[in-house]
């Protein structure tokens, strides 16, 4: 997952025309695309191909997109971008809860999908090696390793980026719009549910009690804040 390099995209889409079209477009943008038509095939390919990013249609025959998403997430911390039907809000929320990092609405414009893929693959490490301690949490910005009481925590790329963004300025409030721009590289009008869903997943992994968060705190009406611990 090197910016500008060739990335491996696993595309799971049941409709042959859409699958072919997206494969064509993504290949033109310089990705190596593996396109499969079902969740089961996708999970097989996940193990053998080790893709850098998964593009997943939620409406799949057989195993549905949410289940595929959960299984991918359980197996690997690979970024997942969902393809959703326009306006199916329940799908968006359920997909984000299942662990997806971002979503695009069908009919997809390939350049939009391309921008999302680049955003989730962007490397966020800093040059200088720093080991930060926040309470029980240690954040290694160079090695991109987060540990809690010495035990490494497995974070999805977007969760990691959100944590790095927030913990970079402890005590400062980040609005949802700011986080959408800095972490997801969406514009001002990105879907703030992306932030909320990602915060929930992150809390489940690093907080002792998700209901009473210490690290990622909600500032009602404004956004989120890291600590102070």
């Amino acid at each position: 997952m090197i910016l500008g390099g060739v990335s491996r995209v696993l595309l799971i889409e049941d409709d042959p025309a859409v699958r072919e079209g997206l494969e064509l477009a993504l290949t033109r943008h310089g990705h190596r695309v593996r396109a499969v038509e079902s969740g089961e095939q996708g999970l097989d390919r996940l193990r053998t191909d080790l893709p850098d990013v998964v593009v997943l249609d939620l409406m799949l025959p057989g195993m549905d997109g949410f289940e595929v998403c959960r299984r991918i997430r359980a197996a690997r911390e690979v970024p997942i971008i969902m393809l959703t039907a326009r306006g199916d809000d329940m799908d968006v929320v359920a997909g984000l809860e299942a662990g997806a990092d971002d979503y695009v609405v069908k009919p997809v414009q390939p350049r939009v999908l391309e921008a999302r893929i680049r955003a989730v693959l962007r490397r966020i490490g800093r040059d200088q090696a720093e080991l930060e301690r926040h309470g029980d949490l240690t954040v290694d910005r160079a090695g991109l390793v987060v540990a809690k009481r010495g035990v490494p925590v497995s974070l999805a790329p977007t969760e990691l980026r959100l944590l790095l963004e927030l913990s970079g300025t402890p005590g400062r409030v980040h609005s949802r719009q700011q986080l959408l721009e800095s972490v997801w590289e969406h514009g001002y009008f990105g879907d703030s549910r992306l932030v909320d869903a990602c915060v929930q997943r992150l809390r489940a992994k690093i907080e002792d009690d998700s209901a009473a968060p210490v690290y990622v705190q909600t500032v009602r009406g404004f956004g989120y804040r890291f600590g102070p611990v």
Binding site: D15, A25, Q109
Partner: protein, 497 residues
Amino acid sequence: MTPRPSLGLRARLLFAFALLCVVTAAAVAGGIYVQARNDILQRAQDAAVQAMRSRLEALFPLQSATPGQAELDEIARTMTDGNSFAVAVYHEEHSRPGPPADGSPGPPAGLWKPGGNAPILDPWAIPKGLRRVVAGGDIAWQRVVWQGEPYLIIGAPLLIVERDRTRMSGIEVYTARSLLAEQRSIDGLAALAWLTGGAALAFAVVLALLAARGVLRPVRELGRAARLLGEGELRTRIAVRGSDELADVARTFNNTAAELERHVKQLREMEADARRFVADVSHELRTPLAALAAVADVLDEEAAGLPEPAGKAARLVSQETLNLTGLVNDLIEISRFDSGVAALTLNEVDVAELVRATLRARGWSEAVHTELPPAVTARLDPRRVDVILANLVGNALRHGEPPVSVRLSAEPHWIALEVRDHGPGLDEAVLPHVFDRFYKANAARARSEGSGLGLAIARENARLHQGDLTVTNAPDGGATFTLRLPRRAHDPDGGPE
């Protein structure tokens, strides 16, 4: 509910009942009273006359045809008994008061001649008419009120019977009998009649009130139900009690309401079917469109390298794919509003920043003049407000004339965003329809930019916020769209904190 109609009916019922009662009571009680009174008086009269006749017989034979004072007194004494007292008159003379010979109690006070000491009827109390009749040779009687008490005065002439003819002796005997006891009986009868009448009236009023209530309650219930029905509560029904005319009305009402409900339900189902059809079509279009959209970019980028006319065709396909995508997206969006699944994702936002972001994202920052006071925050769905603003500003830039301005104003509970251009404004005939779906002001511009759903979606978005979107023509030219949104939009789902 206005009380007037029920009061009217109640008053009319009360009046009718009371009138009926009074007339009946007056007829019955009055008739009985008159009959009883006459009867009582007649009996008293008959008894008195009978008594007088028998006493008169005791007088005969008279001692002389020209009686003196002593004889007149004797006659009067003979005629006087416990119940009556008498006077004998002979021309200008009459019996004088004196102690009764048989020691019977005297007549009541007031009939004494003033200054006298024996029971005697004052001859002046005897009506002249009566005296004339008696003087004519007949027994006659008359009721009089003497000094506040009712009396029956009976007068009889004494006759002298000779061998072949009878002639007047000139002596007249009058007896007076108090009718006080009879008067009391009659008074009692009258009082009883009044009392019975009053009680009946009170009873009638109570009955009228009950009847009015019995009629008015179903009527009032009917009125309430009809009003509810009018307000759209089509499931309104009324309880049917009994089997009278009012129950019939209630049954008719219920049947009508049921029919109405069925028709409205049918219409709604048809409308829902139509909308569902649009939604289904839109969704079905999405998959092929997704495939088209995926390759449109490729086609567009390759177009430059293609020989004409293939290049032009490729660009056309690419462009129309984009337009079609926009149309289908708008159709899906509007069918989401129709089916009520559109939801707000509320966020506390700086409104000025939101407006700037909308303009910036579309490269309109330079073209649009803004008046955005700082620090105006509101709880909104930024993406939906962006859709509204982008539509309004986009329309103003395309169809209006510069300068296009966006002005923000804030009230304690509302914000207002005014988007204005300085073109000729909209035709007055068009104004009420600009938010209609697929409404085209100008048939010639049958296929303008946009789907024809933009303003409809903008308004739906405003209403989803419980705000509104309106349009007017500014007095000095140009169309002005005003978006009003509550600063704290009601959020049924709670939304993110």
